[in-house]
Symmetry: C2
Subunit: 218 residues, 2 copies
Amino acid sequence: MSSTVLYMSMSLDGFIAGPNETLDNGLGDGGERLHEWVFSGDTGLALDETGPVLDAEDRSADHPEAAVGGHLRVNRQIVNEFMSTGAVIAGRATFEPAGGWRGDHHDGVPIYILSRHAAPAWVADWPAVHYVSDLEVAVRDAKRAAGEKNVLVHGAGIAQRALGAGLLDELEIHLVPVLFGDGRRLFEHLGVGQRELERVRVLEGDGGVTHLRYRVCR
Amino acid sequence: MSSTVLYMSMSLDGFIAGPNETLDNGLGDGGERLHEWVFSGDTGLALDETGPVLDAEDRSADHPEAAVGGHLRVNRQIVNEFMSTGAVIAGRATFEPAGGWRGDHHDGVPIYILSRHAAPAWVADWPAVHYVSDLEVAVRDAKRAAGEKNVLVHGAGIAQRALGAGLLDELEIHLVPVLFGDGRRLFEHLGVGQRELERVRVLEGDGGVTHLRYRVCR
């Protein structure tokens, strides 16, 4: 069964972006600090001047079964997991500043973008990208497309809406050892009372990043 | 060397109390959810109608070396740690709604309460309690009183001020598997830029509580 899983890097004080976010400054001031763990060490992903790329020197990302033991291996395991999902759901405010991931988040899996507006012209040629105005429809279509795989959910706005609507099955928080003090919070305006979670996994990654996995209780 | 260590239970979304805090409702609506782990299982602490009490049936809290292994033992280990500190610092807004811990947080160690006001009459008879108007003085006196032991720091307001002033050495966050959605946040108004932390320990306690220990980098 496919689950919707929110993957987000978050500072200990709850921020997923620094202050002064703009289209050109999508992570806010200093926000790249939260993503260093993804691109350092042996995770199979690297940054070039155009953005994240698969590290061609090392294709063991294709073999998740090798990724066991050690803090560096933990980070690779987590990257392998979210790069093995069968569909992606995000909000427009996450997708567009990221350049639409050039139309392919990973492996060409379908990408569902929640938006009240139609897709902009620069997106129109990308067959994997679907602009959807209804979250429930996005989740249904993404789960169907993902088959047995999970659906990667990404972004604070969509996390808040999906949690509020009971459409988020699991949370994978990459807790980064830093205090931001200011910026955009992951959990805000939830509009729900207390919501119990079930801790299902804790992994200590390199760089002091702790990967916390929770199931959202119904 | 004595360190100041913040011990706080926090929901995954960063709250340390529920909404509608008052003097009679010091944890806010539903806030007791965050402290269940302290009083369940075999931690050596229990709740009676007057508040927290040492569990007289089980004094192994006096022997922290016995507290190793297993999720229940983890919670006991953490309780043993903060009940072995040599002094306490808190704000008036934490201390007074808690009934001033009846003048004795644990073992009669000195308690420093940060307040712009003089101690109220009902506190005057408690020799361990000192009202102090200057945080730096409180930290200096508490460290001196604690000797080789650490200083327990407790409360959101004092945490924020101590972090801002560079007077907090370590954080021990008891991360509780629940979303509150509303209430009082631990990390707010920090008034500092990015502050790096060093993860020094992760322990998985019973009830899905994850104890995260960080050193504040200078």
